[in-house]
């Protein structure tokens, strides 16, 4: 299979290597066409966003107003903070110029003269790598003032990196824009959508790093070529970040529609010690988890995963074997969303903390079956009632994990408490009760 994003070319991150492999030719080609043509090709290619929601990239670009007095902006989202996601950094490391080239073409398509690449601050190394690549591209005249000579075009754009300061929420597009503006990373109430009212109130498009990195190849090889790769309704390849209980964790570029079991067993080398799989989260921790006994035939693309009652998310596949403590996993996931809730809107601010507290209590052996109901209702009370999708991100794993592993959670809350746990709970109490009290 041909790889679109991470081909096996040594030192591709060096600009000369990239150029000698046909790099920046797509941009040259793009400048011979109209911006509408580019949008049209990307639309027809079927390219869908790789940032989580799998929204049509071409359609999103077409929302940008054609006539406006205001400057337009492109934000390339490299915040990559969803647990289980580590694919964008591979692009920064291995093929940064393709993303830069994609950024140039996208800027041209939507009429943006400025692009910001928003990268999570923890990615020091990758920020340095990308900055080097951007500097080289400026030097060669692919970005900035020299574009006129290089591409024989009047169009000119600049690319800046903006470092995040360690908040998952800043990956949410409207929060990202607030953060860029120097404000608190609070998501904005939508509508208005970014295409009307984005960065500094100007028309803005936000796309994921991986989405943008696909663009040059679509222009170079044509939309038809791209639309035929993988699942027809969600074409192309995806960078699957596989982690957890697999022998060869890592990022695998595979066509959409690849079997989940193939990803785990064929590419990621199977489960250590040939243990059974208890649970797989297919697209980053915010996506509904799948039961180990329900993996057969599940394909990895947006449409197929919807049928399997989950979602593709960012393609971060987390595998958990039969010995995994799911309560601990869920408590840890709940801790993450509680910790990362920006605190702006009531249901998420209050509900995420509540979920974590209930789960911690269950984990400590102090849960009951009614707590399982409570977890699901609290999750339901968050879902759909919030400003941004972090609400769902926090609610889904809890709701679906408890629903789908009901037997597991029930056994846990009904279990005789194990002595070490009971002792711990006991020691946490302010007054001493006889140990038997802790048992049910």
């Amino acid at each position: 299979m041909e790889k679109i994003l991470l081909p096996d070319i040594e030192n591709l991150h060096l600009i000369d290597v990239y150029i000698s492999n046909g790099g920046y030719e797509a941009a040259k080609k793009a400048f011979t066409q109209t911006s509408d043509d580019i949008i049209d090709q990307v639309k027809k290619s079927g390219l869908r966003g790789r940032g989580g929601a799998a929204f049509s990239a071409g359609l999103k670009w077409s929302f940008m107003p054609k006539t406006t007095d205001k400057p337009k902006y492109l934000c390339v989202n490299g915040d990559e903070s969803e647990p289980g996601s580590f694919k964008d950094r591979q692009i920064f490391e291995i093929n940064p110029h393709q993303m830069i080239e994609g950024t140039i073409i996208t800027c041209y398509a939507i009429g943006a003269k400025t692009a910001y690449v928003y990268i999570r601050g923890e990615y020091h190394k990758w920020i340095r790598l990308l900055q080097k690549a951007i500097d080289d591209a400026y030097e060669k005249g692919f970005i900035g003032k020299k574009m006129k000579e290089t591409f024989n075009t009047d169009f000119q754009c600049d690319i800046y990196i903006h470092k995040g300061a360690g908040a998952y929420i800043c990956g949410e597009e409207s929060s990202l824009m607030n953060s860029l503006e120097g404000k608190r990373g609070y998501p904005r109430v939508k509508p208005p959508f970014p295409a009307q009212n984005g960065l500094w109130g100007c028309p803005t498009t936000i796309n994921n790093v991986e989405t943008i990195a696909n663009v040059p190849k679509i222009i170079e090889k044509g939309w038809e070529w791209f639309s035929k790769i993988g699942h027809p309704k969600h074409p192309g390849t995806l960078l699957f970040g596989v982690s957890g209980h697999v022998n060869k964790p890592g990022v695998y570029e595979l066509p959409t529609g690849t079997l989940l079991t193939d990803i785990i067993y064929k590419y990621a080398g199977g489960v250590p010690n040939d243990k059974k799989i208890l649970c797989v989260i297919p697209g980053g921790t915010s996506m509904p988890p799948l039961r180990g006994d329900k993996l057969e035939g599940v394909k990895m693309d947006a449409e197929s995963l919807k049928e399997a009652e989950s979602a593709i998310g960012t393609g971060g596949v987390i595998v958990m074997d039969e010995d995994t403590d799911l309560v601990k996993v869920l408590a840890r996931i709940a801790h993450f969303y509680h910790h990362e809730s920006c605190g702006q809107c009531t249901p998420c601010r209050e509900g995420t903390g509540w979920l974590e507290k209930i789960l911690k209590r269950i984990l400590a052996g102090n849960g009951s079956t009614s707590d399982l109901e409570l977890l699901i209702t609290v999750a339901n009370q968050i879902e759909g009632n919030t400003i941004c999708a972090l609400g769902e991100a926090a609610a889904w794993p809890v709701k679906y994990m408890v629903e789908r592993f009901r037997y597991y959670f029930e056994a846990r809350v009904n279990d005789e408490v194990s002595l070490p746990i009971a002792n711990k709970v006991h020691s946490m109490r302010e007054t001493s009760y006889p140990l038997a009290d802790v048992k049910k």
Partner: protein, 561 residues
């Protein structure tokens, strides 16, 4: 006008309005914490979630624009579930310290807990703990645990006070409010945040822990701090003013008032320095006498001066009614045209929000009421000069402090043969007064003020004096007052002997043989309305709670934020 259908009722709305605004204009309340009609939309509390047909999820009524034919449900099962959810969430970490919270009784969270929640919590975990006593500025105290993070206070500082001082810090359920580093919330309007805070997270350092709201009565009044005349409520317990809060009036002050007006304009009502009874100077000392004795003393002295030796100084702090009678008293009773009043201005006080340079409530009204010299008479500068030249020998000074305003005049004032003063509190001028009449403050009488923009407004008594009748004078009662027992807080506290200036002057006129038939401020006003052209046709009742815009010279109508 386009139509929207809310809960099966077809209602008109103005293009561009949000659902919550369209509902409100039609008298339908959609619950809200963070939304405020004068602040930007933040959409964070989520209690205003409503169901709109054709929309996949519930939407917030505060930010969703109404459109023609839109069908909205505010009481559907889904909506009620969302409201219950939001209320349950808001209360899980709330300290529920209502029994010691100043806001109790006027708290949105309390009210909504009855109206929009199940009244039960399933939360058994430990609550998040936050700082409970953070002084944000000189006048405002913050309790982090009570805060529901609605951001109203932040938006108020940014958008209305135009002084960004507050921000959220931390994340998730640890979010709390702080001032920016090195800053204090000391803008001149900071205390409005206390009013708009839906809970008891922001409290007044002045009023904190002084009273339960239901133990106080509140009466509608107007601030006397400057010529804006912000509308207020005066809150009284045991016949003592404990706080003033702002009252909505779009024509004048919108929802706001300044901290100076709120804090500094009522303290004299409760002060030690009040004049409690009429006083006459005997052997160099002021001594208490009865009203009748004071009246006859005044009459006997006033009679001895030829009219060109008498001057009358009225007051921009007094009502139109007081000044109308003052003018009549001067011109018709004393037959002097030496009549004017002192202007009080402070350019530093003024801003582009509410505060005006004229730091009195009724300068315009004083002029309109006839507080102007006759053609041959002396104006205030003339009067001052004549006092210095000892040409004026008798001065009738109403509700102002000539000595404090013109210290250089002190020795001349001391040489006056007669100084009669109406005042609520002892001041530098009463030191030289021969007769002092205790005048009711703005909080103890009926009457009207004309503000700097030509809006005529009513004040009402909030504090009882001996001459006021609680029922006849239409004074509101607190819950405690209604029992009529010995615990009745109305009966408690001191009642002053003060009377309104106009009433005192009517008595003196009568003693001088000039009959004026006024028993109520309203009657004085009716007389004014028939003789002053700008007031023609205005009925006292019609002024009601929000005032009447007069067509007076150079009145600019100013939008108050």
């Amino acid at each position: 006008m386009p139509n929207i259908i809310i809960d099966a009722k077809t209602l008109e709305f103005k293009k561009g309005q949000t659902i919550i605004e369209a509902a409100q204009d039609n008298g339908i309340e959609i619950p809200h914490f963070c939304w405020h009609p004068k602040l930007s939309v933040s959409g964070n509390c989520r209690i205003c979630l409503v169901e709109v047909e054709q929309m996949p999820k519930l939407v917030i009524a505060c930010s969703t624009i109404a459109s023609e034919g839109m069908v909205v449900h505010t009481k559907s099962e889904k909506v009620i579930a969302a409201q219950n959810a939001v209320m349950e969430f808001l209360l899980i970490n709330h300290p529920l310290d209502c029994p010691i919270c100043d806001e109790a009784g006027e708290c949105k969270l309390q009210d909504y807990a009855y109206k929009y929640s199940l009244g039960e919590s399933r939360f058994v975990e430990e609550k998040v703990q936050k700082d409970k006593r953070i002084k944000l500025g000189p006048n405002v105290m913050f309790d982090g645990e009570r805060c529901i993070s609605c951001s109203r206070c932040i938006r108020f500082c940014d958008e209305i006070a135009k002084d960004p001082e507050l921000t959220f810090v931390q994340r998730g359920d640890h979010v709390t409010i702080r001032t920016y580093p090195g800053q204090e919330m000391d803008n001149p309007y900071s205390m409005n945040t206390i009013d708009i805070c839906p809970v008891g997270a922001l409290t007044s350092t002045d009023f904190r822990f002084k009273a339960r709201v239901w133990d106080m009565s509140s009466n509608k009044s107007v601030c006397v701090g400057c010529s804006r005349g912000c509308n207020t409520d005066i809150w009284v317990r045991n016949n003592e003013i404990l706080r003033q809060t702002t009252r909505y009036n779009e024509k004048v002050n919108s929802f706001w008032m300044c901290d100076h007006g709120r804090l500094e304009t009522f303290k004299h009502v409760n002060a030690e320095s009040r004049v409690h009874y009429p006083q006459i100077r005997k052997d160099g000392e002021l001594v208490e006498v009865g009203w009748d004795e004071a009246f006859s003393e005044a009459v006997s002295h006033l009679k001895t001066f030829p009219k060109d030796q008498i001057a009358v100084v009225g007051s921009p702090f007094a009502t139109c009614e007081d000044n109308f009678i003052t003018a009549k008293f001067a011109k018709s009773v004393l037959s002097t045209g030496n009549l004017d009043f002192i202007r009080h201005t402070n350019p530093e006080f003024a801003d582009d929000i509410l505060r005006n340079e004229d730091v009195t409530p009724n300068t315009k009204g004083a002029v309109l009421s006839g507080l102007v010299p006759s053609q041959a008479g002396l104006d205030i500068n003339g009067i001052i000069k004549a006092i210095k030249d000892q040409k004026i020998k008798a001065l009738y000074l109403i509700e102002d402090d000539l000595v404090q305003c013109f210290p250089e005049l002190e020795s001349s004032i001391a040489k006056l043969e007669l100084l009669i003063v109406h005042t609520s509190n002892y001041n530098s001028s009463t030191n030289y007064a021969d007769i002092v009449f205790p005048a009711s403050t703005y909080a103890e009488k009926h009457g009207t003020f004309l503000n700097g923009f030509g809006v005529l407004q009513r004040i009402r008594p909030a504090v009882a004096t001996a001459e006021l009748d609680r029922a006849l004078d239409g004074m509101n009662m607190s819950r405690l007052d209604k029992f009529g027992t010995k615990f009745d807080s109305w009966a408690a506290g001191k009642k002053n002997e003060a009377r309104p200036t106009w009433k005192i002057l009517v008595s003196i006129s009568k003693a001088l043989g000039y009959k004026m038939k006024y028993n109520m401020a309203e009657e004085v006003f009716s007389d004014m309305a028939s003789s002053i052209i700008e007031l023609k046709g205005i009925d006292y009742d019609e002024i009601s709670e929000s005032g009447v815009q007069l067509k007076v010279e150079d009145n600019k109508t100013v939008n108050a934020g």
